[in-house]
């Protein structure tokens, strides 16, 4: 499961397999051709966005396109004044606080689920799986409705106290942190529980045998052992929160709290004509920031793996007996479930049944009807769903296809395999919004007429999800004992035959997990397509964003619920596949 989600890594498959002796099994010309082909394709995908972004940031717009000049004016404009300082500090504070919140919730849940005899564990998994399928934008709107001025929390407060003020102002930094932390906690849960599962239970048992009690063992062994990986995870969530777009746009902008991503967005949409130069300059600076953060993360997580001893024996550690406390722990799971799943979903269900937004009350019950669902189904949203599915399927298929070969070349140390590895991993530094700007500029510059079509979306999505595919493919490859391939070579099979008849079937579970993961991520992505979607190439998450902006929250709720239901089913399949392929003893010695 580590492989399934832990994708923001800048280290490479080659480094991961550094423990293996340096052997190049793949020396034949077929491999060389494959390497060359992959390098060409990946370079064509990955490198232009960087170039266009740098070019855009250095281009100083004149009154007409022909009078544009090159210079550092954009950077000067961005860096002058106090605004950039405020924005950067906002970004970092927002990211750090929400990472801490997500990890706190995620770690507590994961530990309870993986290491204790608490009942009701499936609730945590249910929460996590549904969150995988649901667009973040839907969650954010649900919590906005719940905590908003007219939402049940503030409504109840006013009713009880007679006060006309609000208890919670969600459109604040605290509100942003709260919502972002909630958004990330299910994923933090999955990541931490994977780490806990991989830990060697004998280390804990040894502490118990040598006289440590439950709490001493947790404090002095379990916590200390998982600290490096928790640090790495914290860094990962931190990076993702720096890049976050949904919460800053929906919560931060109305509350006048700007972060780096929303500043870039404002430059692109709130100015006419769009300030591409300013947005590009800010993007370049942000890429540098993310690159540094990813580097630190890479160091942290390599450190973390020292302790992650996968025994491969397939036995589960004996859970701690919490005694009576396990009901308290079950209470935490229930609270978590209510907070992260039940509240937003019920909120959406309530809103979706109303013609316009109303606080929860008996009076409003009279207005309840299914008309929103009817409107959504009749108003051509079917095309929206089809668009989204097509983009997601195409993205997942292309990305997995490319990274299947790339992962094989990288892990088996083909000539130039490391270049393939680097190329497929580099797009990690792109926050979705920035990649969107880069790809937009690319297709404005080159005469390929896919601007405004689904094609440009697939192009951008494939770049964005290459590292994810690589992660699945490479870690799947590492689980396939190299002797399985060597045996085929000795039997007389050429590299292509080995790839087709040995590697592909054995890697299939990992590739399927990767395909489903990329599918789910593409189907709910907002920040990447938001600038690339045209009127004829709308995607679900973008449409939801527009509905919210137009005040059509009730229709949004109806549409979102139906969509999440579909996606949750796919997420469920993903979860089963990912668990099976990660535990895959297939081909292990």
């Amino acid at each position: 499961m580590t492989a399934s989600f832990d994708v923001a890594r800048i280290d490479t498959a080659a480094e991961r397999s550094a423990a293996a002796p340096r052997r190049s099994l793949l020396s034949a010309w077929q491999t060389a051709i494959l390497s060359a082909l992959l390098i060409v394709i990946l370079s064509a995908l990955v490198i232009p966005p960087f170039l266009l972004l740098v070019q855009g940031s250095l281009t100083v717009a004149g009154p007409t396109p022909s009078t544009s000049t090159f210079g550092l004016t954009n950077f000067e404009a961005v860096l002058s004044g106090r605004h950039i300082v405020t924005t950067t500090i906002n970004s970092l504070v927002f990211a750090a606080a929400s990472a801490a919140l997500a990890l706190l919730l995620g770690w507590a849940t994961a530990w309870i689920v993986e290491r204790t005899n608490t009942p009701l564990k499936p609730l945590a998994y249910l929460t996590a799986i549904i969150s995988l399928g649901t667009p973040y934008i839907l969650y954010v709107t649900a919590w906005l409705l719940f905590f908003g001025k007219a939402g049940p929390v503030n409504h109840l407060y006013r009713t009880l106290t007679g006060n006309i003020d609000v208890l919670i102002n969600i459109y604040s930094m605290a509100g942003m942190v709260l919502v972002e932390g909630f958004l990330w906690s299910p994923l933090a849960f999955l990541l931490v529980s994977a780490t806990l599962r991989n830990a060697n239970p004998e280390l804990e048992e040894a502490a118990r045998v040598h006289g440590a009690g439950v709490w001493a063992t947790i404090r002095r062994v379990t916590m200390r052992l998982s600290l490096p990986s928790i640090m790495a995870l914290a860094m990962l969530v931190f990076i993702r929160a720096v890049e976050a777009f949904e919460v800053p746009a929906l919560v931060g902008l109305p509350g006048r709290i700007s972060v780096l991503t929303t500043d870039i967005y404002i430059n692109m949409v709130a100015r006419a004509p769009p300030d591409i130069g300013g947005a590009s300059a800010l993007s370049v600076l942000m890429l540098l920031l993310v690159f540094v953060l990813l580097y630190v993360y890479g160091r942290l997580s390599r450190h973390a793996e020292r302790f992650a001893t996968i025994t491969g024996k397939g036995f589960r550690p004996r859970p701690f007996d919490l005694g009576r406390l396990r009901y308290v722990a079950a209470g935490i799971l229930i609270f978590n479930f209510i907070l992260l799943l039940l509240v937003p979903m019920l909120m959406l269900v309530w809103v979706s049944l109303l013609p316009f937004f109303q606080p929860v009350s008996a009076a409003a019950l009279k207005l309840v009807s299914l008309s929103n669902y009817r409107t959504v189904l009749e108003s051509g949203q079917l095309e929206l769903m089809l668009n989204t599915l097509m983009v997601a399927v195409a993205t997942a298929t292309i990305a997995v296809g490319l990274t299947f070969v790339a992962g094989w070349l990288a892990v088996r140390r083909a000539p130039c395999g490391w270049i393939v590895d680097r190329l497929a991993t580099i797009p990690l530094v792109f926050p979705g919004l920035i990649l969107g700007i880069a790809v937009m500029q690319l297709f404005l510059a080159v005469p390929i007429p896919i601007y405004g079509t689904l094609g440009i979306l697939v192009w951008a999505f494939v770049i964005n999800y290459l590292p994810y595919g690589m992660r699945y493919s490479a870690s799947g490859m590492l689980q396939i004992h190299r002797e399985l391939e060597e045996a085929a070579a000795v039997c007389g099979a050429t590299p292509m035959t080995r790839l087709r008849r040995i590697v592909a079937p054995l890697l299939a579970p990992a590739l399927l997990a990767g395909w489903l993961f990329i599918f789910l991520m593409s189907a709910r992505a907002l920040s990447l397509p938001i600038l690339l979607s045209g009127p004829r190439s709308q995607l679900m998450a973008v449409a939801m964003f527009d509905l919210w902006g137009n005040g059509q929250g009730t229709e949004l709720a109806a549409l979102g619920l139906m969509w999440s239901m579909l996606m949750t089913m796919i997420a469920l399949v993903f979860y089963v596949v990912a668990r099976r392929s990660a535990g895959g003893a297939l081909g292990r010695a």
């Binding site: 002797e483 060597e486 045996a487 000795v490 099979a493 035959t497 010695a589």
Partner: protein, 373 residues
């Protein structure tokens, strides 16, 4: 048949500067030979095997089979790709493909062959024959994951011989089996090899496997072949202290060579006692030799009794410990402050005061160059 000359393949480890691999390995095998490379883990034996298979590219040297060069690091560099070398190989992990049935696993070499197309009937027949050889007739449709360790090993063997290769390479094939199955498979492997008469290169760290199976053994240490010879040569006439100690248990005594002729000589050990030994290899420095005496070559007699066979070496000693091992007994005897191990039958009586003489024949006493390390 198989000729390996000056084969060199060095692995540099950048972190701790320990270089593995093999240096200047040379040997030639007659057709049908069962050849074993024996050595401790990390000595380079598997590297050599993988170089022969084509899974590693040597740094230098020549590998040829039946006069056809598979690798030549010389002027016009030859390196036949692994898939064109047409050898059979059994891997340490067996490498049975879990997504195929037994028959699909065994048939694989025939289905990927480039120079010849086999009909379905030919393949079925060849698979059946190979499975019959390894006593797995009728297992064709069994999925590979549903095989026991011993069965997997047999399938791996069937796959390695189905295309009738000229050379069979075995990489520690018995090391993953439990002790009883290992003994069984060992004798079976020997029977099978002599029946199909295939030239075999076998890699192991287990000296009893090597002694039981081989026609020729190469003992390898730290990337260097230390001795090549028949099992009897290796056991009774080691040419250096490493081989003497690695193959079977032995006592090594430091000494000084005082005269040698016709492969025999006298060595002063234990503060001036002179014993007669075999001197199988040239000894450059007479002042620094080791004498190897196998524990089972020594007889213990009470000090009071006179030596019974004239010509045997005789050293006095004191029994300090006895370990019962079932059929035999290991006795520790101290002589001049040096402890020697002696294996005796379990029922040999030892004198109550522990004063004994150690008797051992010069033919079973070997002088080796180099100090006891």
């Amino acid at each position: 048949m198989l000729r390996v000359e000056r084969l060199t393949k060095i692995f540099e480890n950048s972190t701790d500067q320990i270089a593995g691999g093999i240096r200047d390995a040379s040997f030639t095998l007659d057709p049908g030979t069962f050849f074993t490379m024996l050595g401790p883990s990390g000595c380079g034996k598997t590297t050599t095997l993988r170089c022969i298979a084509g899974l590693e590219t040597p740094d230098d040297g020549i590998i040829s089979v039946d006069g056809r060069a598979l690798f030549d690091g010389g002027g016009k560099r030859i390196n036949v790709p692994v898939e064109q070398r047409a050898v059979g190989m059994v891997f340490q992990s067996y490498a049975i493909w879990p997504h195929m049935t037994v028959a699909e696993n065994v048939a694989f070499p025939l289905t990927v062959m480039k120079h010849r197309r086999y009909s379905r009937a030919d393949i079925e027949q060849a698979v059946a024959k190979a499975l019959a050889v390894v006593d797995l007739a009728g297992f064709q449709d069994r999925p590979a994951p549903r095989l026991s360790g011993g069965q997997q090993q047999r399938v791996a063997l069937a796959r390695a011989i189905v295309h009738e290769p000229r050379l069979l390479l075995l990489d520690e094939p018995l090391s993953n089996l439990d002790a009883q199955l290992r003994d069984e498979m060992r004798s079976e492997l020997k029977r099978l090899q002599s029946r199909i008469g295939i030239t075999t290169v076998y890699v192991t760290h287990d000296q009893s496997e090597a002694l039981a199976l081989s026609d020729q053994i190469a003992v390898i240490d730290k990337g260097t072949i230390r001795q090549i010879g028949s099992p009897q040569d290796i056991y009774f006439r080691p040419t250096n202290p490493f081989v003497a100690r690695f193959v079977g248990a032995t006592n090594l005594l430091a000494g000084r060579l005082v005269g040698a002729a016709n492969g025999r000589g006298d060595v002063e050990v234990l503060g001036g006692r002179k014993i007669t030994c075999l001197v199988p290899s040239a000894i450059a420095d007479p002042s620094s030799v080791s004498v190897s005496i196998r524990p089972e070559s020594v007889r213990l007699v009470p000090r009071a009794d006179a030596p019974t066979i004239v010509g045997d070496n005789c050293i006095p000693g004191t029994v300090t410990g006895v370990v019962f091992l079932g059929a035999t007994r290991r006795v520790d005897v101290v002589s001049d402050g040096v402890t020697l191990q002696v294996t005796t039958a379990a029922d040999v009586l030892l004198p109550a005061d522990g004063a004994v003489d150690l008797l051992f024949a010069p033919e079973r006493t070997v002088a080796l160059p180099g100090k006891v390390s």
